[in-house]
């Protein structure tokens, strides 16, 4: 089955001020696909996805959303075009209630349709409905991540970008979050997933690539990546399906 590409990035270089963090990276995301961006800390994963939504300066390259150029546009415009971004940290409004967080997420939805969209989200995430009146600050780590993702999802974006949604979560909760992300794809939303937790992510991703020091190291479908020696060495090690080679006593 050939999926249409919905997001195409070519030769993107971006960074802060004069510092180039990401150099000449190209990738594409197809409809109803989950694409994974892996890499060690500081490799530029967050920078790259923030650049897609216009929060970071792009020095070179193009990013096309269904044929429309994103580079140079304001964040507000990019959001309106159908991309939603969930940051790694500070991704909810702590002093607002759960329900209000979702209301803010529905800012761009027409007034009459708002409640309906929020109800749909409650259907997807019943635990949020149970706590709709609670302050977002009072939620547990896992619930906050769910809320952050829900806020990003409400506007029915074409593309949802998730920056390390399972960071700092206990493994069982992380698994739950991953399962929810898979469920998002079923709803027709394409997902760009940035993750350190490579193994769990590769289980739900369709394709992906590895970013190291701002450049692409390897790419392919998730099956290809799991089998890729370099990738396994770099990231899957202990988390991979194999037994770790015993290290000399330390």
């Amino acid at each position: 089955m050939v999926r249409k590409p919905i997001l195409e990035a070519t030769g993107v270089s971006c960074g802060y001020g004069k510092m180039h963090i990401v150099n000449d990276v190209s990738f594409s995301l197809h409809e109803s696909e989950i694409a994974l961006i892996m890499g060690p800390n500081g490799s530029g994963k967050s920078t790259l996805v923030k650049a897609i939504v216009g929060l970071i300066d792009i020095f070179d390259g193009h990013i096309l959303l269904a044929g429309n150029e994103l580079v140079g546009r304001s964040t507000a415009k990019i959001i309106k075009m159908g991309i939603s971004f969930v940051p790694q940290t500070n991704n909810i409004f702590p002093s607002l209630s759960v329900h209000e967080n979702l209301e803010i997420g529905s800012t761009l939805i027409e007034h009459e349709l708002r409640q309906g969209s929020i109800d749909e989200i409650y259907g997807l995430f019943p635990e949020l409905k149970a706590k709709r009146g609670d302050s977002a600050n009072s939620l547990s780590g896992g619930e906050r991540q769910i809320l952050a993702i829900a806020r990003g999802l409400i506007g029915k974006p074409r593309i949802l970008i998730l920056d390390e949604p399972t960071a700092g979560l206990a493994p069982k909760i992380a698994k739950n979050v991953m399962a929810r992300i898979r469920g998002i794809r079923e709803k027709g939303v394409s997902v760009v997933l940035v993750e350190q937790n490579a193994r769990a992510a590769l289980n739900i991703a369709d394709t992906g690539f590895v970013l190291v020091a701002g450049s692409k190291l390897a790419e392919g479908t998730s099956e290809e990546l799991i089998k890729n020696e370099d990738v396994v060495q770099l990231f899957l090690g202990r988390l991979g399906g194999r037994e770790p080679t015993p290290k000399p006593s330390q």
Binding site: V53, L55, T75, A76, I79, K80, S84, F85, P87, N90, N91, I92, F93, P94, S95, L96, S97, E100, E103, I104, G105, T107, L108, S135, N137, R151, G155
Partner: protein
């Protein structure tokens, strides 16, 4: 000699002054949370409101209610103009907090001395709003002027309206969201530029109202707003930078200042001009012991 009559009138005065501190403090809190800066020119917003009502009622016979509205409009406009011309461009350029504070100091000096020049030229260096008050009733030997009936309920009503705006309307929720997390607000599609303008208009209007009330209550000079900054900041910080907290703190400070000054005067002979030292001490104590104030922002919604 502590007299009941004096104590009661001091208490009443404390409430009256406290309600004005609450207004000035609440608008300051809103500007700190919404614009993410400390605006040293905040007092001048009140000064302008005070002068507008004083001049309009004294020299042009304008109806007090209309004059209050004009005062609020003038201050709201000033707040917006200042932000658009000075603060916003600085933020855009990536100026740090100290530079922005410095700019607000410059704005404060500019507005204050502009008012000085005007007041000196018009020979009105001290002035009061020409608002007719009548004695409503007498309670425990103390005359209660109608001023109390205007100022205290109006202040409470204003705070109530603000709270409702923030809690129930979409704009209010967006303002709260922006106060929590400006970048996430942008990313959610909120027009933060427009929202910032609304915030300054509201801040200016409420500060102008506080100034207008003050002009009804007492004589004003071009420094009146700046002198009230101590109480405004005390209310905001002791209140933990929340709306509710600031209002409560405003009243507490108004009462503490007045009753404290009275008691210290009667028992230890401390001159009442030192009342502002009481406020200052409260502020320092809170900053050192419990900087998060009465109510921490994390746990409250407003």
């Amino acid at each position: 000699m502590i007299q009941i009559g004096d104590l009661v009138s001091t208490l009443m005065n404390g409430f009256l002054v406290g309600s004005m501190y609450a207004l000035l403090g609440v608008s300051l809190t809103l500007s700190i949370n919404g614009a993410k800066m400390y605006n040293w020119a905040h007092g001048e917003l009140a000064t302008v409101g005070a002068y507008v009502i004083a001049v309009l009622t004294t020299f042009h016979g304008v109806n007090p209610l209309a004059a209050v509205l004009f005062a609020m409009l003038a201050s709201a406009g000033l707040a917006l103009v200042v932000d658009e011309s000075t603060y916003k461009p600085l933020v855009k350029r990536g100026a740090n907090a100290i530079q922005i504070m410095l700019a607000s100091i410059a704005v404060s000096i500019f507005v204050r001395y502009a008012v000085f020049i005007y007041a000196a030229a018009a020979f009105i260096l001290t002035l009061k709003a020409n608002v007719v008050t009548s004695t409503l009733t007498t309670f425990l030997g103390v005359q209660i002027s109608s001023l109390y009936l205007w100022i205290i309920p109006s202040s409470l009503l204003t705070v109530f309206v603000l709270r409702t705006l923030l809690a129930r309307t979409m704009v209010g929720k967006q303002i709260r969201a922006m106060s929590d997390n400006p970048e996430l607000a942008r990313v959610s599609g909120i027009d933060v530029t427009m929202l910032r303008r609304y915030v300054w208009l509201i801040v200016g209007a409420i500060a102008g109202l506080a100034g207008a009330f003050w002009a009804m209550y007492s004589f004003i000079t071009p420094e009146i707003g700046f002198n009230l900054l101590v109480d405004a900041f005390a209310a905001a910080i002791v209140g933990g930078l929340t709306i509710d907290g600031t209002v409560i703190a405003g009243f507490i400070i108004g009462l503490a200042e007045n009753i404290g000054a009275y008691l210290l005067n009667q028992t230890l002979g401390v001159p009442t001009q030192y009342k502002v030292l009481i406020t200052f001490s409260i502020l320092i104590a809170v900053l050192i012991i419990r900087p998060s104030g009465l109510t921490s922002r994390r746990s409250r919604e407003l």
